[in-house]
């Protein structure tokens, strides 16, 4: 046994330190920890000796993609992150923007794809828990959730099991904590069969002065741990989330975590009380890589060091090793930095919620992460080596993958019977009513929900603030598969358009980048292109990125997911009386299409489902035009000209019209006529961006058309809102009831 702490602290330790753990670090162990030989060589250089097994574990998780963003960081650095409204950009637990009147909105999206693929219920539930903690760790009370879900077709039993489990897991967790789910997405494609995508966005609000950061300050301040005790669950979750799913993953047992929403609710309330007391220096939840990541990041941000004693960590399993304590991803745990003199008050607040304040360490000025367990130093690592100076992976040769794309004109449109096509599309799980999902979510708790899920963006009021907050989350893997750059630009524009449709001015965005392996040329190229597109679109639309998440390795030996960036956006309706519905409101209103003409039906979700092929060409966007149309719609909303508005996205004009009918209370449909020279396939199915369907009273049509002309936005009257019927002249004729019967299909 060695006790050569001194040597270790000065970084001159010898092999002797290995004795403490009695595990020899073989090349096989290094490989198991996901480190390349080059990375291991760098580790040896940093440490000046061989690592202990605990240290190897720490390096492994901190250098994993999940924590270090090593593959993505250079790309993400190109995103626009500044703007007049941005209070905190990427780098904190979550981003924050100014809403005015002293209010801040904190929001972020996180994925829990890999855990959900093996244990859908707990995987999704713990995903909700994690993103909520990111929000309240910033000092904000979580007020809403949105979930973006993607699965393989539910006619496969395993997919159906995953779908039900994920929805149930989100429901149980969010409902219990009491945060309403006010929107989301639900999309089906065979490419998500082996890797479902479960992205959850959370939104919180705080007064500016209540905002908290994860930057430790001061030497000799205490690290206070509270929440659930640490167990063996989820060990190496972060490295797990950074590796492809294989056949064996199902037996990758220790990675599965269980959620405890009751504990989450208690730590939420306690945290808000703690922050209000003004006695917290810094705060972070223990998420990926648990105690290690949360403590080291806070210390490193403050340029400090850390000493930690693992004997003080609350434990609920016998004989946990230092390795396990450092890497456990047990849920519902928080770590606060507290001045010693404030500890009694902090402990008193925690006790009210039946929580203990456990001092597990303190900040130092050494810049090192020193961990003791049972009287032995188990780790002694310079913090920058695991937090900032992470090894750079070798760049992967970026080459566009050859795609097997079928041109849309080769589809036999003459054979299409449009009534049947629409009904089939409406009853497909992708387009069918999501009521069966959002009715399992308490979408009204906290009594702020002004627009419930069901049509368009979710809208919240915030007591004490004069505006309304609109939010949406959007993605489209199909568009991005065809062209990751253009697709991502279109997705970002769609998110903004969703907000504009309800009358909201887009403010800022968050994103979740779901991709395959960045170590393969296709994945690496798709990622780079998507991030480039995201940056372009956000710059053009004036919506800075305030945070986000990257999920790589969404692939299995037999398939990779479509590149699927998901964009979450928040916006503001300054004048609540201008809130505009997404559904038909009055019989006799005139239906108008705003935006460019459709040129092709490539990228169409309906054609993909119909043919099983990737039907191209890719959807492209002119961002200047997009911005012009959006500003025009906001102007019309402001002038009170519109009675309803929705954007055109997946499913094209056909689905936009159908959804405006299906969401209306009174069974309102429409009678539409396409221009004589327009081919129905392109007109109805095209997913060409920058387009809205709006309605106005007959009396306002002239001014709507005139205003559009002045704004340089194409406006085409399509027809009229009618009770009960849904017809498109010469193409299809159905009743709203028939639509409804096809659409309302619970899973």
């Amino acid at each position: 046994m060695i006790r050569n702490n001194e040597k270790a602290t000065t970084g001159q330790g010898t092999r002797g330190i290995l004795v403490t753990t009695r595990i020899e670090i073989t090349p096989a162990i290094v490989e198991e920890h996901g480190l390349t030989p080059a990375e291991y060589a760098y580790l040896l250089e940093v440490l000046g000796r061989e690592p202990t097994i605990a240290e190897l574990g720490v390096f492994s998780v901190m250098w994993s993609e999940h924590c270090s963003y090593k593959h993505s960081r250079p790309h993400l650095a190109t995103l626009p992150t500044k703007g007049p409204a941005v209070l905190h950009g990427p780098g904190e637990n979550a981003g924050a923007v100014d809403l005015g009147e002293g209010w801040a909105c904190v929001f972020k999206v996180e994925s829990h794809n890999h855990p959900s693929a093996v244990e859908p219920y707990e995987g999704a539930a713990t995903g909700v828990g994690g993103i909520l903690r990111d929000i309240f760790a910033m000092g904000a009370r979580p007020i809403a959730l949105l979930d973006a879900l993607r699965f393989g077709p539910p006619d496969e039993a395993r997919n159906a099991w995953i779908i039900r489990g994920v929805v149930h897991g989100i429901a149980d967790y969010g409902n219990c904590v009491g945060v309403p789910v006010i929107g989301g997405e639900f999309s089906i494609d065979p490419c998500y069969t082996d890797n479902c995508l479960v992205n959850v966005m959370a939104i919180g609000v705080a007064r500016h002065e209540e905002l908290m950061t994860a930057r430790a300050e001061g030497v000799g301040n205490l690290l206070v741990y509270y929440g659930n005790a640490t167990g063996r669950d989820g060990i190496h979750g972060a490295t797990f989330a950074s590796a492809e799913l294989t056949e064996d993953s199902a037996e990758d047992r220790p990675c599965v975590q269980v959620g405890d929403p009751f504990m989450e609710k208690k730590i939420l309330e306690a945290t808000i009380e703690l922050i209000a007391s003004g006695r917290i220096v810094a705060l972070q939840d223990m998420g990926a890589a648990g105690l290690t990541c949360s403590s080291t990041e806070m210390a490193d941000k403050g340029g400090l060091g850390l000493r930690m004693n693992l004997d003080k960590v609350p434990q609920r399993a016998a004989n946990l090793t230092a390795y396990e304590l450092l890497l456990s991803e047990s849920q519902e745990r928080m770590l606060a930095v507290v001045r010693p003199e404030d500890l009694p008050l902090v402990a008193r607040i925690l006790r009210k919620w039946d929580l203990d304040a456990c001092v597990v360490g303190e900040t130092t000025d050494t810049g090192r992460f020193v961990v003791e367990h049972h009287g032995t130093v188990e780790a002694n690592i310079p913090l920058p080596a695991i937090c900032t100076h992470v090894p750079k992976p070798e760049p992967v040769q970026a080459a566009p993958a050859a795609l097997d794309v079928r041109d849309w004109t080769t589809v036999d449109f003459a054979a299409i019977e449009w009534n049947g096509l629409l009904l089939a599309a409406l009853s497909s799980p992708h387009f069918a009513s999501k009521r069966w999902i959002y009715e399992q979510y308490d979408h009204q708790v906290q009594t702020n929900t002004v627009v419930r899920p069901g049509a368009g963006a979710g809208v919240l009021r915030i007591a004490g603030w004069s505006g309304l907050l609109a939010s949406t989350i959007d993605g489209n893997g199909l568009w991005c598969m065809l062209d990751p750059y253009e697709g991502t630009r279109c997705v970002t524009a769609e998110a903004a358009r969703n907000l504009v449709a309800c009358g909201a001015r887009p403010l800022a965005a968050t994103n979740n980048l779901n991709f395959g392996s960045p170590r393969k040329p296709a994945g690496s190229w798709q990622f780079a292109e998507a991030v480039r597109g995201l940056g372009d679109a956000c710059r053009a639309l004036g919506t800075p990125i305030t945070g986000g998440n990257v999920s790589f390795y969404n692939e299995s030996p037999r398939m990779a997911v479509f590149p699927t960036p998901v964009v979450g956006m928040v916006g503001v309706i300054d004048d609540p009386s201008r809130l505009t519905p997404a559904t038909f409101r009055n019989e006799g209103d005139v239906v108008v299409l705003l935006g460019p003409a459709a040129t092709h039906a490539g990228g169409s979700r309906i054609l993909r489902d119909l043919t099983g092929d990737l039907v191209g060409p890719a959807v492209r966007i002119d961002l200047a035009m997009e911005k012009r149309v959006q500003e025009h719609v906001l102007r019309l909303v402001g002038d009170g000209v519109l009675t309803a508005a929705t954007d055109i996205a997946d499913g094209g004009l056909l689905m936009a019209l159908a959804e405006m009918a299906l969401g209306s209370d009174g069974g309102l449909g429409c009678e539409i006529d396409l221009a004589a020279d327009e081919a129905p396939a392109a007109a109805l199915l095209s997913e060409q961006p920058s387009r809205f369907v709006v309605t106005c009273t007959p009396g306002d049509v002239e001014s709507l058309l005139a205003l559009s002309r002045d704004a340089g936005v194409r406006a085409v009257p399509l027809g009229t809102v009618r009770g009960g019927v849904f017809s498109i002249g010469g193409v299809l004729s159905l009743t709203v009831y028939e639509l409804y019967e096809a659409w309302e299909k619970p899973l």
Partner: protein, 235 residues
């Protein structure tokens, strides 16, 4: 003379703030928040037990909260005639505590359900209806629960019939099987105790007090309680 209200808060309550806001900001009454480890003060006219997942609803919905220290004082108040309203989880707590008959079990759909329902009021005057909410009136209120399936054993049905407060119905007031969201016996959505001063209901009146959020029917119940207290005070 305005009533003094207490809102009881358990760890895991999540509609407590909504209830307080409905009372304070909309009904504009005086409210005290009572933590589960404390007692409801003497000088209180109405007690609200809000919804949520007290103690995570682990074991059975409401069961662990029913054993908590504050419930002794709620019981004393209830016996003395103080008005008590339990909503959603609060209803489950009151049943588990034996202050109301019956029990709430898993929805027969086996799913959590959150949407608006219609309720027919079966109350014939009294503290929760007064004159503003006539018998047979149809209200529209939201539900949000996974355990709202009301059950009383057959031998107790006759006894509680007179104490049924609300039944799930269709928009026209028809109490049909289709209108029953959770399998509750006889479409029961709310009941009172025999004395008539304790009400439990699954739908959320405190969520329906502002037009902006989709309806104000919940206000009618809270206002009735308010008026009743004023009437009693006035003698």
């Amino acid at each position: 003379m305005s009533a003094r209200w207490a809102v009881v808060i358990f760890p895991g309550s999540n509609c407590d703030r909504d209830f307080v806001r409905a009372l304070r900001d909309v009904l504009r009454v005086e409210v005290v928040e009572v933590w589960h480890k404390d007692s409801v003060p003497e000088a209180i006219d109405c007690i609200a037990i809000p919804g949520g997942f007290s103690y995570g609803d682990y074991l059975r919905a409401g069961a662990l909260a029913a054993m908590s220290p504050v419930m002794a004082s709620v019981r004393t108040h209830a016996e003395r005639g103080t008005l008590v309203i339990g909503v959603c989880n609060g209803f489950q707590v009151l049943c588990e505590a034996g202050l109301l008959p019956g029990v709430l079990t898993k929805n027969d759909t086996l799913r959590f359900r959150c949407h608006d329902v219609y309720l027919r009021s079966e109350l014939n005057g009294g503290p929760f209806a007064g004159t503003g909410l006539p018998q047979g009136e149809v209200l529209r209120l939201p539900i949000a629960h996974g355990f709202g399936n009301y059950y009383v054993p057959p031998e107790q049905r006759d006894a509680i019939e007179r104490h049924v407060a609300f039944r799930y119905c269709d928009p026209l007031g028809d109490v049909s099987r289709r209108a029953n969201p959770n399998g509750s016996v006889d479409n029961i959505a709310g009941v009172t105790n025999a004395a008539g001063n304790v009400l439990g209901m699954m739908p959320h009146p405190e969520r329906a007090v502002e037009a902006l959020l989709g309806g104000t029917d919940g206000l009618r119940i809270l206002q009735a309680m308010q008026d009743w207290v004023a009437g009693v005070r006035a003698g």
